[in-house]
């Protein structure tokens, strides 16, 4: 009987297109993707900003006043305005993706994705109102 299969050492090359480093400038959807990923830089910036604020409050009233003054410097304000746009973009895109990542079941029935999304938005609104109340009210 003839052997039907002859195995050789031949390894085919992977079919891969050479991608430009700037492939994400080619389409709007790609750019949106890279901007969404880039939002993490502003998340990190704001962690640093928040920690500087906590540190200033810990040191004392003078230091806190100095922090508030520094926060009004044009470049800090500019960074924070850009950061706000990116962080809101991050929040919206993250919550929109949540129904795909979270499959919630209640009594063995899947919760529809629009409810999972709505839940995130409601929680976002409650969190924002609560933080505002904590800092501005009382």
């Amino acid at each position: 009987m003839a052997r039907s299969h002859v195995y050789t050492d031949y390894h085919p090359r992977w079919l891969r297109r050479n991608l430009s480093t700037y492939w994400w400038l080619e389409k709007r959807a790609y750019l949106a993707f890279i901007l969404r990923e880039g939002s993490c830089m502003f998340v990190a910036w704001f962690v640093a900003y928040l920690l500087l604020l906590v540190r200033a409050v810990t040191i004392g009233p003078g230091s806190y006043a100095q922090f508030l003054e520094w926060s009004a410097a044009p470049w800090v304000l500019a960074v924070n305005i850009v950061a706000f746009v990116f962080i809101v973009y991050h929040a919206v895109t993250f919550f929109v993706a949540a129904p795909q990542a979270m499959v919630v079941h209640i009594r063995r029935k899947r919760v529809p994705s629009y409810l999972v999304l709505a839940g995130h938005y409601v929680a976002w609104a409650i969190a924002s109102v609560f933080v505002s109340w904590l800092l501005l009210g009382a």
Binding site: L19, T21, W24, I34, E37, G38, C40, M41, V43, A44, F46, V47, A48, Y49, L50, L51, L53, V54, R55, V57, T58, G60, P61, Y64, A65, L68, S71, A72, V76, L77, N80, I81, A83, F84, I87, V88, H90, A91, F94, F95, A98, A101, H120, A123, W124, A127, S128, V131, S132, L134, L135, L136
Partner: protein, 117 residues
């Protein structure tokens, strides 16, 4: 013995960081980054800030926000360099530096929260 991979944990931290930063950061940037500096609203007094931060629950929430957000950043930063800029040969170095910064930042955050009177 089962070899445990850190990847699922890192994805979980990324995810948790994405949710908590999405929930809390927009309002915090709006207030402390824009509204107070532009004098749209009066910033809380120092005593008020101490009262808010004096509550251990506030500090715990802020610590969670900082730590998870830092790991969120590290994970996304690492993957963006990999996929976006296609820096694949430095994968290990980039991962080490990103998560390293997240760990150092987390320790700093814990220390600063601990220091609040």
């Amino acid at each position: 013995m089962i070899k445990r991979h850190p990847e699922p944990l890192l994805w979980m931290l990324f995810s948790a960081g994405g949710v908590i930063s999405g929930m809390l950061m927009p309002i915090l940037v709006l207030l402390f980054g824009i509204a107070f500096p532009l004098a749209w609203l009066t910033p809380p007094s120092h005593e008020q800030m101490l009262a808010v931060l004096g509550n251990p629950l506030t500090r715990l929430a802020l610590l969670a926000l900082c730590v998870l957000s830092l790991f969120h950043w590290a994970h996304r930063f690492r993957h963006t360099l990999y996929d976006g800029l296609q820096i694949k040969h430095l994968n290990e170095v980039i991962a080490l530096v990103s998560y390293g910064i997240a760990v150092v930042g987390s320790v700093a955050a814990a220390y600063l929260m601990w220091q609040v009177p």
